[in-house]
Amino acid sequence: MKTIADRLIEDEGLRRGVGRLTPEKIQKVFKELVAGECGARMKTYMETCVRCGMCAKACHYYMSHKDPSYTPVAKVSQTMWRLFDADGKVDPEVIYQCAQVAYTECNLCRRCIHYCPLGIDTGYIISVVRRLCHKLGVTPQYIQDTAHSHSATMNQMWVKDDEWPDTLQWQEEESREEFPGLRIPLDVEGADFMYSVIAPEPKFRTQLIYQAAAIFHAAGVSWTMPSTPGWDNSNMAMFSGDSEIMARVERAHYETAQRLRVKRIVMGECGHAFRAVYDVANRWLGWKYHPVPVVHSVEFFWELIQQGRIKLTHKYADPVTIHDPCNIIRGRGLMDKLREVVHFLCENVVEMSPNREHNYCCCAGGGVINCGPPFKNVRIVGNSIKAEQLKATGVHTLVAPCHNCHGGLEDIISKFGLNMHTKFLGDLIYELMEKPE
């Protein structure tokens, strides 16, 4: 049977990393990691998995390849079991393989939790493999570069301190041509919410900031954005395994909101960022609950609609389907609110199957898309099941309220010739809403 060893992909970061390792060094770091950071969860999962193989069908990689080495349990078998079996004393090449499995063949989407009777959290196990790879310095080049950016700038894309306010002012200026009274309020102490985004928005997708400002303007809400670092809610350090940088980024984000004395944080349409802010980094920082409540755009738009703050000129006529992003559905249960928002906006919604908590991942999340060009094909070919699922809906518009999902789905749509286009909720609301004079 084929294994990860039969499909290795050259990556500068991984190759350079393993070049500096010896079995002894790997063992030392592995043992320190297990003693220092692994507890009852890892021990239980390692010991009780009965290798029944039921989780196979959970994984989009397996469903796309039908190759047993892609099942969730096979990924654990080719990484963590192997390490435990050898007490961590493995050849550096094994770490290369572990890294490729952990960073590029698992999206940490947690779908397999719906398949394992014992509730084994494969995503957690793979995260620990990534943590080990980080500690060994064996991380894919592009995601590592992103983690470096987080550490140096507190944002994902090396956006410098002047570029951020400059971009917001530019977007404000642009939007004032359409909405003369519009403001993008910077550093307003005591506003109802701080709006935070991911760094690709000011870098490449400024229209998303424009649209959000237009929607907030039309809805007449009290909001602000910080002019200082702490504005980026994304967090690739979480996925590269650098927990310390993950925590530093999130601390800056939360403390910015605390300094602005806002009631809560509203986050743009991003899934992994939500996971970092809502579920992961707060724990490392010692906060059981969030020091400032965190609301994803889907929920915020739902509130605006409930309060009658968004009025439409018309509904979107073409049929649409809904992609449920893992990190806000399995990660936050927003499936009903997402549907209510989409039904409010669109005439005709065609559900894909399976959906809601059981939806297939976009295959871009969990940091996989951030591993860059060398692994692009892994996540596209590895998700033909998604292409089939999309095709079966027969519609041409796909609503996906998550940046990574957009990236992943667009690649799949183009590769499999699906004749679909993806939309954020913000795109639809902006297009359909009554715009103030």
């Binding site: 692994c38 507890g39 239980t44 998995c49």
Partner: protein, 219 residues
Amino acid sequence: MHALYDLAVGPLAWLAFAVFILGSIYRLMSMRALALKKDAAFVAYISWPHAIRSLLHWVTPFGALGWRENPGVTIVTFLFHICLFVAPLFLMGHIVLFDTFHGWSWPALPDGVADTLSIVVVAACAYFLWRRLSVPEVRFVTRSHDWLVLALVGATFLTGVLAYHRIGDNLFMTTLHVLCGEAMLVAIPFTRLSHMLFGFFSRGYIASEFGSVRFAKDW
């Protein structure tokens, strides 16, 4: 052989039950201590209502996505586990032993029913054996440990069935059955069979995370 049988149903049985019970308590308590010490940021979210709600789905055949998507495994798994517990606990032969040694007694299943249940367990083991050999995603992750635990369970029930049907030397078969059963009991706290101890907690934990933090179902 008689001496061995006496040893098996006497001191060895005591030993097996002691190891099983004390070992299980030790494993559970030490795992709890480890969780409190090392997993504080996760234990903090345990929510029994969410755990119980999820467990009710998972102990119902086809009550969870994983069960529905794997119907064959589901049917066999439920039959296997039910029979695995019911057959030995309510087998007249076992109750008689307890009555003889301890004076404990409880209602027994008719022998024919208990026999059928035991045969179901053996058949289920054969099914699991077949899966391990020929289903690629199972074979890929099967290790010697998995063969061992399957063999322990399979041998215990197979020898039980053979002894009941008086196939082979009865004393030998019965002695072998008792020894296998004891080995299985001893193995429970210390092998993959410990999913019997920890499975409800690992499911309950992730159900708590899904229920109380992520507001999503985990079945």
